[in-house]
Each structure stands twice: as C-alpha cells, then as structure tokens.
C-alpha cells in the first residue's frame, strides 16, 4: 500500500503521538542539555572540561571500555553463533545458556561481579590462581580497574551480539548450506567462505550496537566504581558525577555533549549499516576470474576447532556468574569466607533470600506498576508510528528513533530532570512513567518497523477494498496480524524499564510509601544498589553476598521467565527475516 491510499490526516494520526512524545521527552531535553552546557559565559565550560586534568584518563577508559566490550562481545558472539548454528540439535539449549546474562540487569550483574572480584574470597582470584596468576585486587588496583569493568560489560553484551549474528547465519538458505556439503566443503569451509561473509551485515550491526550501548553504559561503571574514583570512570559516569554529585552542572553537561557527539558518529555508521542496501546490485566486478579465491585454507581449517574450544570456555564464562548468584543467595554467609571459595552447593538456606524478598516489596511494586504502564504506553504509541514508517516510508522517523535509541541516557538526564522538577513530579511514579518510554518507544518503533515490513500488504489492501477506512483497517486487520511482533516488543519494553537505573536514581529520593496516592519511586535496581558489598564491606553477620545474590535473583527472575518462556516470540518479533528458507 502506498502513501496514496491514506489521507494526509490519517497518516499523521498514526505517527503524531510518537513524534510529540519523543520531541517533548527526547529532543527537547537533549537540546536543553546542549544549551545549558554553555551558559552566558560562552564556551567556558568546555574550556574547563578540556583543562580538567582527569579528562584524558576518563576518555582513555571510555575507549578501552567501549571498544573492548564491542570487540570481544562480537568475537565471542560470532564464535558462539557459529557453534550454535553448527549444532544439528541442542542449539536451543546453547542459545538459552548464552543469553542468560542478558536476563540479568546491569545493576545486578555489577553487584554479582563485585563478589566474584572480591580480593580475598572471590572466585576470580581462585580461577586466576589456577592459571598461575598472582592474587589480584581486581576493582581496587587503579591499573586493573577499567579492565575488570570491561570484562563484566563483555559478559553482559555477548548475548546481544550472539543473537544478532545467529539471526544472520540462520538467514542463509538451507539449500546453500546443502550445496556446500555437495561440493565437499566442511563446516569450517562453509562458515569462512559462505555464511560469515554473508552475515557481514549482522556482524557489523552487532559490533556497532554493542559499541554504542557500551559508550552510553552508566550502570556498570557506576556500581563497580563504588569509591567514585577517576581512575575507573568513563564518560557517562563523569556526566552524572559532575552534575548530580559535584554540582558542576555546565562542566558535566559539556562532558555529556562530548559523549553525545562521539556516539553520534557511531550511530550514523549503525544507521548506514542497518538501512543501507547490503547487496548493492549493479556493481559488476572487474577482476577477471583468475582471482579465484580459495575455499580451503588455514582459516577454514582452524575455525571449527577454535569455535568449539572458545565456545565451551565462553559458555562457562557466561553461565558461572549466574550459578554463583544462585549459590551465594541460598547459603549461609559464613560459607563465603573461605579461600579457595566453595563453588559447589553445600547447605541450602533460603533465609537471606526470603528476608531480602520481603524488603524488596515496595520497590517491586513500584517497578511493576511503572513497567506495565510503560509497556502499554509504548505499544500504543509506537505501533502506529512503526506502521507509518513501514508503509508510508516515513524513514526520517525511523532514523530519529535509531538515533535517539543509541544515545546514552546521560545525554538526556539533565533535561529530563529539569522537566520533571518543573512539573513537580520528582519522586513519583508518574515521573518515571513519563520518562521511561524515552528508551522503549524508539526501540519499539525500530523493531516493529522491521516486523511490519515483513507483513504481506494484501491483507490491508483487501480490507480497504472491503470498505474499511484506513484507520479501521489498521486497528482491525493489521494490529491482530502483528500480534507476535507486538507481544515481543511489549515484553522487551517491560524488560527495558525493569532494568533502568539512572533515571530512577536521579528522579527519586525515597522508596514507595504505603499511602494514597502512592509516593516514592525507587525501583528494584535502586534497591539492589543498597547492597553494594564494596561500600557495605563483607562481614559474616550481615551476609551481604547473600543479599546481593538474592537481589540479583529478584531483579533477574521476571526477565528470565519472560526470556525463556517466550523465547520463540522474542526471536521472531525481534529479528524478523531471521528464519531459514
């Protein structure tokens, strides 16, 4: 259906809600941040920022953290995707294991890793000593801190890269793979010559997306950096630290603008990769056939053994922290204080978990309420907008959404805080409900656009011929057909808002109060940060590790359930076109 079949008004009705919302809570705060970064005194805040002696360290840290995360996550994701794709059976189990870390919010990951990194009793040193390394102070030694932080970030990012690349490998037609078998190619030949080159687009997307998200990652460096030291700070941390802790607002905003600019470059590349035409038809190769490229070389011989080795190690790396979380949540605190650490279950004691669960109640209520409202709002606003992008070629709206999605939360946080402050919604559910969709709506428009593009148009056309008005056709015909995509997007929106840390941190001061109307708006992520073992210290009596493990489970369980029960829906909805022919 072309744009012609919709009246101008109907077309606008479809995308206007999303546009208005994103303008008010995305573009406007962004501009506000840029505007206030250079107050009346001109560019003095930028001068101050660039003269700030710690800036080079922070930038260096940001680059190590981002490129380290994206590079290793993509590499491990690629090898694991090849591994899962090459398994005749059991690829489903492999997928579930790989994306376990994806179910744990950054906040909880960081806290669990804090216990793993514990300099005296942590398993990290135990595994290091098995490899002959000396005992390390992972989060305490300045030269090591950023690398320890990056490892946690890699752990969290591998699942996303894996899912994107696996979808790419899966989209190679089955017959092409069979043809390669007929030709005598082994798996190594097939992947190096055919499948990986054909998945270049999704590999690049995985790299750029993990890179962009790592640039903007506030949660991990914030929690792991409990001493607020510059030696392990990255730009998003610096932005928050300057604005909300040091009260150096314009200098913090200047750092935010610097980060925004940096991310914009990679967002541009991402947009070009995902929207560019991958086949580039009409490009005729000039090289004569003399340049037959090899089919069987060292790389193709080494690929599969390397894949299997790395995949088995990576699976252990990905699964262990989850296992550790369960272990420490359900054992008496005394068992934590031994070295080498006990890494198998010995005594089952749910007392700490139950106590923590009771404590978490107000936070869980707040987060559930906010996340459900955000989920509904996101679908209502994003679904018609995505449809308008897919069917009426409103590409600019999609570009805007991808761009806004890629920007770090620190790019908006000052503007959003200012708005919420002025409309007196700090510390309320409403404040969170109004601002969380800033992350879910752009994402939902992006994925739903992909989904609608794969939906055949003839149903809508038939409904228009039958006499439906375009709006009626959208609500009665298109929406029901798009149910799998809407369902997946709704669940992911829920997961996203469940995971958010920076906004509730900045927009709230108190937990939920039992009165009406409800006040206080700390969420489960804020709750989890209460148990930071680095600031609380490890004592036998408090069983802080048990609380960390328990809080981690409370944060992860809804997401884990959704991700495992609705796995097929999520994959189908998220990566349409990823199915085999």
């Amino acid at each position: 259906m072309s744009g012609a079949s919709y009246s101008k008004l109907t077309g606008r009705l479809l995308y206007m809600p999303a546009l208005v919302y994103l303008a008010a809570f995305g573009v406007f705060p962004l501009l506000l941040s840029i505007y206030y970064s250079s107050p009346s005194s001109g560019l003095s805040s930028y001068v101050a920022l660039f003269e700030f002696p710690q800036l080079p360290i922070v930038i260096r840290n940001t680059l190590i953290f981002s490129f380290g995360t994206a590079g290793f996550a993509t590499l491990l994701g690629l090898l694991l995707a090849v591994f899962a794709d090459s398994l005749p059976r059991g690829s489903r189990l492999a997928s579930i294991l790989v994306y376990l870390p994806f179910t744990v919010p950054f906040t909880a990951s960081a806290l669990i890793w804090t216990t793993i990194y514990d300099p005296i009793y942590g398993p990290a040193n135990y595994f290091a000593s098995m490899m002959g390394l000396p005992r390390l102070n992972w989060l305490g030694q300045p030269s090591l801190q950023i690398y320890s932080t990056t490892i946690v970030s890699i752990w969290s990012s591998v699942p996303l890269a894996f899912l994107l690349i696996l979808a790419g490998l899966r989209s190679v037609p089955k017959s092409v793979r069979e043809a390669s078998r007929m030709d005598g190619m082994g798996l190594g030949d097939y992947y190096t010559n055919i499948a990986i080159p054909l998945s270049k687009g999704s590999i690049l997307t995985a790299f750029l997306l993990t890179l962009i998200l790592a640039f903007g990652n506030f949660d991990l460096p914030y929690i792991l950096n409990s001493g607020y030291s510059y030696s392990m700070a990255t730009l998003p941390f610096l932005v928050w630290f300057e604005i909300f802790y040091q009260n150096l607002i314009s200098q913090g905003l200047a750092a935010g603008v610097l980060l925004t600019a940096l991310v914009s470059v990679f967002s541009y590349l991402l947009i070009r990769t995902t929207l560019g035409n991958p086949t580039r038809p009409g490009r005729v190769r000039v090289a004569r056939a003399k340049s037959l490229r090899g089919s069987h070389n060292t790389l193709s011989k080494a690929l599969m053994p390397a894949t299997y080795t790395v995949s088995v190690l990576s699976l252990a790396f990905l699964v262990f922290p989850i296992y550790w979380m369960l272990l420490i949540a359900f054992r008496p605190g005394a068992l934590n204080f031994v070295f080498p650490p006990l890494i198998y279950p010995k005594v089952f004691n749910p007392a700490t978990f139950i106590a923590t669960l009771r404590q978490s109640e107000p936070y869980v209520i707040t987060t559930l309420a906010v996340s459900i409202v955000v989920m509904g709002f996101t679908i209502i606003v994003a679904a018609p907008a995505a449809f308008s992008v897919a069917r009426q070629n409103k590409r600019w709206l999609l570009l805007m959404c991808i761009y806004l999605y890629g920007l770090p939360s620190t790019s908006y946080v000052f503007g959003v805080y200012t708005i919420i402050y002025h409309i007196h919604l700090l510390n309320t559910w409403a404040g969170l409900m109004l601002t969380f969709p800033l992350f879910t709506v752009p994402f939902a428009v992006w994925t739903l656009t992909n989904f609608y593009s794969t939906l055949p148009k003839h149903y809508e056309e038939a409904s228009l011929i039958d006499g439906y008005t375009p709006l009626k056709s959208f609500y009665r015909v298109v929406m029901p057909l798009a149910r799998p995509g809407l369902f997946a997007t709704a669940l992911l929106s829920f997961i996203f808002s469940w995971h958010l840390l920076l906004f509730p941190l900045v927009l709230s001061e108190t937990p939920y109060q039992y009165n009406f109307p409800p006040t206080g708006s700390f969420t489960v992520t804020n709750f989890a940060t209460l148990f930071d073992p680095q600031s609380l210290g490890s004592t036998v009596t408090a069983n802080v590790w048990g609380q960390v493990g328990s809080a981690g489970i409370i944060l992860a369980i809804p997401v884990m359930l959704i991700a495992i029960l609705a796995q097929d829906y999520l994959l189908r909805g998220l990566y349409p076109g990823g199915s085999r022919e």
Partner: protein
C-alpha cells in the same frame, strides 16, 4: 547399473515418507521421479545425494553401497530447485568451488571452469555475482557447478520450476541435450508429469512414499498399471467413472462385477460420430486443440477435440469411445484389463 535403491524406508517423526522403495537406474539414462507434492520424491533424491539418511534399506552408486558416505564422497552432482548459488562468490568461484575444496590448483580449476562455461554458454558472466545474472543463467551456473567434478550421477531437484514458462521450454531441451552429450546417469525429480514425459528415458511415478509404476513415458501413458498412474499421467487428465451402478452411454469394452471404475482418456472420446449423445457444457479453447466438457446423463466427460470443428456450449453432440484409451480398475485401483 548405475544407481540401485533397495527397500528404502524413511519417516519424519510419525510421518512415513518412503515405504519400501526399490529402483534401478541404468547407466547413462535420464530417469525421472514424478509425483504430487508429499509423494516422497525429493526425499528419495536427497537420500541418494546423502543429504538425508534412510531409516532402512540401501543405496548403491556404481556398484558400491554408499550408506553413511558423506555427499561429497558419493561422486554425485546436484542441482537445487532454487540453485543455491553462493551469493557472495562470483560465478567462476561458484563453479570452481567443488574443485578448490578438493585441493585442485587454481590454474587447473580455472581451465576447467572456462571449458564448462563455454559449453553452457555462460563465459560472459564468469566475473559476475549470482544476483547480477538472469534466472536462466543462474540455472546453467548451477548445472556447471554440479557437473565440474565429473560426477557419476547427476541429481536434479525440480531444476526448471523457478524459470518462467517460455524459458522452461528451451531449458528442458537444453538439459536433455546436455545429458545425452555427456552420457551421464541422471535422476530428475519433478512434479510436472508433462515435463517428465517429454524429457525422460524412464519414469518412476510415486505416491505417498510408494513407487506406483516404473516405465518408459509411452508405457506409463499407454499401459498404466493402476488408477493413480492413469490419472496422474496425461493432460488433460483421464475421465474416471464409478461404474458399479452402470454407465449412461455405450462403452466399447465389457466388464463384470469385479470392475469398480473405468478410466477414459479424453482423446479416446471422439465427437461428432457414434451412437451416444451428450450436451456440451463448456469449451476450453487452446489453439491447436480444445477441451470439450460434455454431459451424458448424469456423467460429465472431458473430451479432446482437434482441428477446426466448432462445437458450442448448449449444443447436443454425438460421440463414441475408442477402445484404445479405456482402462478398467478393480476396487483397489489395480488395472483389470487394458484395451485390445
């Protein structure tokens, strides 16, 4: 004998796709496997190729049992329905792929590629990517890739179904001529019975995982062994009448109580002569011939009318049934007695 298939069985879950299939394919012949979708023909081909494994039974190629041998060591070449060319490699690289994998030196491989490309008339496109050439060219690239390693058996899975009608006609002739010239044993899977009739030395007709009949195109058309083959082969299809309660017109053959159904080829119904009368209900004109639907009593028949005689809908025509072209079937659909 080039390919021998013995008592082959295959199920996917509870779904039995091949039941006790026995086939012998002679050296150098073009052997077609034809049947409706779901008849198991593609699965059979894929088992011969080594892409699927049978539950029981044996496949031997060139006298050697190949059960469990991987596809690339069976000495077979295969063309896939959608060609399955590697989209990221040039035409030359696609064709050379089986040689390069075996470790043939690039220079030699290139010489072979150029030779076969000349033969298949695709030298001009060797440097292009598969996405940049026409469907007909893609099909020939797929043929070249399957043939370059000089296989003992050539397997074709619906190779013409992705071509448009005009091209399919010339490609059919091309494939047949190429196969003759090379003298290569070929198994050709298709759902199109007219394609199978026109191209094959011999044909196996399959239905629901069983081989219904094996024979030359002429044998299948003229002496079908059962109701299924009689109605599957031939276009327009055979008239099939339940005769247990009698026939409202005169047939040139007599039948007794063991006969349940009578099949009459449309061209065996001659219009404008004979002792039966019927009303014309529909005429499908197609140039050289016309399919005329007539109603005699309660029975509607398809007749084939050649030449220029014009009948109109609503007219009454005389007709008679020629004995050659009438088949009698028993309750189980087996042939009772062919004509003459």
């Amino acid at each position: 004998m080039s390919v021998a298939i013995q008592r082959l069985n295959k199920s996917f879950g509870n779904n039995r796709v091949l039941s006790d299939v026995d086939l012998n394919i002679e050296k150098g012949e073009l052997f077609s496997i034809v049947g409706p979708s779901g008849s198991g023909k593609t699965t059979l081909l894929r088992i011969v190729a080594g892409l699927e494994t049978q539950d029981s039974g044996h496949v031997s190629i060139d006298g050697r049992i190949v059960d469990g041998v991987p596809p690339n060591r069976r000495n077979v070449g295969m063309v896939f329905q959608n060609y399955a060319l590697y989209p990221n490699r040039t035409v030359a690289e696609n064709i050379a792929s089986p040689l390069l994998v075996k470790g043939v030196r690039r220079g030699e491989a290139l010489a072979d590629v150029e030779e076969i490309a000349k033969r298949l008339d695709i030298e001009e496109v060797l440097d292009r990517l598969p996405g940049q050439i026409s469907g007909g060219q893609q099909q020939r690239v797929a043929l070249a890739r399957a043939l370059i390693k000089k296989p003992v058996v050539f397997l074709l899975d619906e190779p013409l179904s992705n071509l448009d009608a005009q091209l399919r006609f010339s490609a059919r002739k091309f494939v047949r001529q190429l196969q003759r010239d090379l003298g290569i044993t070929t198994i050709y899977v298709t759902h199109d019975q007219s394609e199978a009739l026109s191209i094959s030395d011999r044909i196996a007709v399959m239905n629901r995982g069983r081989v219904m009949q094996v024979g030359s195109p002429r044998e299948l058309y003229e002496s079908p062994e059962n109701e299924f083959v009689a109605s599957f082969i031939g276009s327009p299809p055979l008239n099939l009448l339940d005769v247990r309660s009698g026939v409202p017109f005169k047939l040139p053959v007599s039948f007794n109580g063991g006969c349940a159904k009578v099949g009459i080829r449309p061209e065996a119904i001659l219009l404008g002569e004979g002792e039966n009368r019927a009303e014309v209900t529909l005429v499908e004109y197609s140039g050289s011939e016309a399919v005329v639907y007539i109603r005699a009593g309660e029975v509607e028949l398809r007749a084939l009318s050649f030449g220029r005689s014009v009948v109109r809908v609503g007219e009454t025509v005389d007709f008679r049934v020629q004995e050659s072209g009438v088949y009698l079937f028993d309750e189980r659909g087996q042939l009772l007695k062919a004509h003459g």
